[in-house]
């Protein structure tokens, strides 16, 4: 908890929620993305729809799920199907506006690694859980928002293993690979919000969280950031904080 009266996780959840527009279809994974999606529904985006890859479509949840397959994702859902319906008809069918992603490594162009750290993926230094739906969301959502802890080793120039495609090597490389969906719009971290320039898809510092300077953010980032347009991340409002704490995560499962 900062002197300002909110924690980094709360600020991140609020910043991520603000990436969601009213009426959008949101594909959310476990953790902070769920906080962001629910907070958005309770504030500026009441008509957004949440989709979970395990099969639940547009529920009215009362409790945070521990995973995307949790029974809690089913409460008053519009539909309960399975992976077949969600991946084919919702995601590959082009109906997801914003997909939330996370990974152990995120590189300069927003490519993610959630498979293996090290030079040989068959004998990795650290084996991670694997793609799950991450690669699918990264390829097929109209845009993605990435959430990550901001540490230099987690933000290298190039990921050890590309599990989920971002802007690949920048420029037109994503389009040339044949990928349909839109690519990363924002990377929300514990220090900053990073976005990507049109056409070149080079990363730039969009905002730095209160308490940090642009130079501090750059020093904790393994690739070069354009700092020219950076502003301070707007603080959470009392209303956003109240909803986050009292309605979205009163058990403090993800807020800690």
């Amino acid at each position: 908890m900062s002197k300002a009266g909110w924690s980094t996780l709360e600020l991140m959840a609020v910043a991520a929620a603000r990436e969601i527009a009213n009426g959008e279809v949101v594909f959310a994974g476990t953790g902070l993305p769920m906080l962001a999606a629910l907070l958005a529904q309770h504030t500026h985006a009441p008509e957004s729809n949440i989709v979970f890859e395990a099969g639940s479509i547009d529920p009215r949840m009362q409790q945070l799920p521990m995973s995307v397959g949790d029974s809690r994702t089913l409460l008053k859902a519009a539909q309960a199907g399975g992976l077949f319906e969600v991946f084919n008809y919702v995601l590959q069918g082009g109906r997801v506006d914003v997909g939330f992603l996370g990974g152990a490594q995120i590189d300069r162009y927003g490519n993610l690694n959630s498979t293996a750290i090290g030079t040989d993926p068959r004998r990795p230094e650290v084996r991670l859980p694997g793609s799950g739906g991450s690669a699918d969301l990264a390829a097929l959502s109209k845009r993605t928002v990435i959430i990550a802890r901001h540490e230099r080793r987690r933000l290298p120039e190039r990921v050890d293993y590309c599990t989920s495609p971002g802007w690949l090597s920048g420029g037109r490389s994503r389009e040339e690979a044949g990928i349909r969906g839109g690519g990363p719009a924002a990377l929300v971290t514990t220090m900053a919000v990073i976005r990507y320039r049109a056409d070149s898809h080079e990363p730039y510092l969009s905002s730095y969280h209160p308490g940090f300077s642009p130079a501090q953010v750059q020093s904790q980032t393994g690739f070069k950031l354009d700092l020219a347009d950076a502003i301070e991340t707007p603080a959470p409002t009392p209303q956003e904080l109240a909803i986050l704490r009292n309605t979205v995560d009163p058990e403090r499962i993800f807020l800690g």
Binding site: G69, R127, A177
Partner: protein
């Protein structure tokens, strides 16, 4: 009306699965796995399984930790918040004790669906530009893995010219499912999310279903639109109440945060996991003794869902292990 019954016991069902078999397991991370049957498989000492999975949790991780698995093909192995990386999986892969071939969930969905439909492959628009597709070394014929099985590769659609990834169908020897209701004749009723159970079942030569309740066949025939697997695809039905514990079964019981937390801790080393196996798999004489070992009716009562919700809203989920 036939009176043939497919009902057998847990140990009898485990005896059907030989070492070296290819297997897929129903459920999703911490939900609706046939855990009692998996414990029976471990007790029987099955070895060298090839497991096909999409979003597995401590179901597949248990088999890995017990030394039952030789090769994995799939997308994700973790127990949600309870275990962000499946611990036995992580350690065994890092130590080079296990072969893994990585796919995305959409790709595994397409692979099981292709197998279920009798097709040799399906295209997906996912995985383009990722290292999951770029794994084929230049000196090997594209389309084959080291193990000689068919492999994904990039192709152009003959109609549109679009790039797609072709993924090979999966046909397994066995699919093991846990569901809410089944009849002795092999009708299956799943409540809540289906996950990928239907496609996994229909891409297997033999389907073994464990169930919370054995119900009358005619009862399930009152609402045939809710039955998604044809009974002639099911080989065996095994009544196993609380058979998914420590995982959840929608409308029947919640996941057990205490046990999943203890599992995550125990599975982080071979020594502590051996103790876990002794306590919860080899020690208890049968499934009922297992349920006593995890806290008996006192614990199971705490997992009971509230009617109309399908889960227990009062379950203590944080600070696990202190309840």
């Amino acid at each position: 009306m036939t009176v043939n019954t497919k009902v057998i016991g847990l140990e009898e069902a485990a005896a059907l699965v030989p070492s070296g078999a290819s297997v897929s397991i129903g459920g999703f991370t911490s939900q609706r796995h046939p855990s009692a049957l998996l414990r029976a498989l471990v007790r029987k000492g099955v070895r060298d399984l090839t497991i096909y999975y999409h979003s597995a949790g401590s179901d597949v991780d248990l088999l890995i930790g017990a030394g039952c698995v030789r090769r994995l093909e799939g997308a994700y192995l973790a127990d949600g918040v309870f275990a962000p990386i499946a611990p036995n999986f992580r350690r065994h892969v890092q130590q080079g004790r296990l072969e893994v071939e990585d796919y995305s969930n959409a790709a595994m969905m397409a692979r099981f669906a292709a197998g279920a439909m009798g097709l040799p492959f399906l295209p997906t628009r996912s995985m383009l530009g990722t290292d999951m597709v770029d794994e084929v070394p230049a000196d090997r014929t594209p389309g084959r893995t080291a193990a000689g099985t068919p492999k994904k590769f990039v192709a152009h659609c003959p109609f549109s010219g679009d790039k797609v990834v072709l993924v090979p169908a999966i046909r397994t020897d066995f699919c093991l499912l846990h569901v809410q209701q089944a009849s002795a004749q092999g009708l299956v009723r799943i409540e809540g999310q289906e996950f990928l159970d239907v496609q996994q079942a229909l891409s297997a030569d033999s389907v073994i279903v464990t169930c919370e309740e054995l119900v009358d066949d005619d009862h399930l025939r009152l609402e045939p639109e809710r039955n998604r697997i044809p009974p002639f695809a099911v080989q065996a039905v095994v009544p196993a109440r609380f058979g998914a514990h420590p995982h959840s079964v929608h409308n029947h019981y919640d996941y057990d945060p205490d046990h999943l937390g203890a599992y995550d801790s125990a599975a982080r080393s071979d020594e502590t996991f051996a103790h876990y196996l002794e306590t919860f798999v080899f020690g208890p004489a049968d499934h009922c003794a297992y349920l006593d070992a995890i806290g008996g009716l006192r614990r199971l009562d705490q997992l009971r869902p509230k009617r109309g919700l399908g889960y227990n809203p009062d379950l203590r989920r944080k600070d696990r292990g202190t309840q």
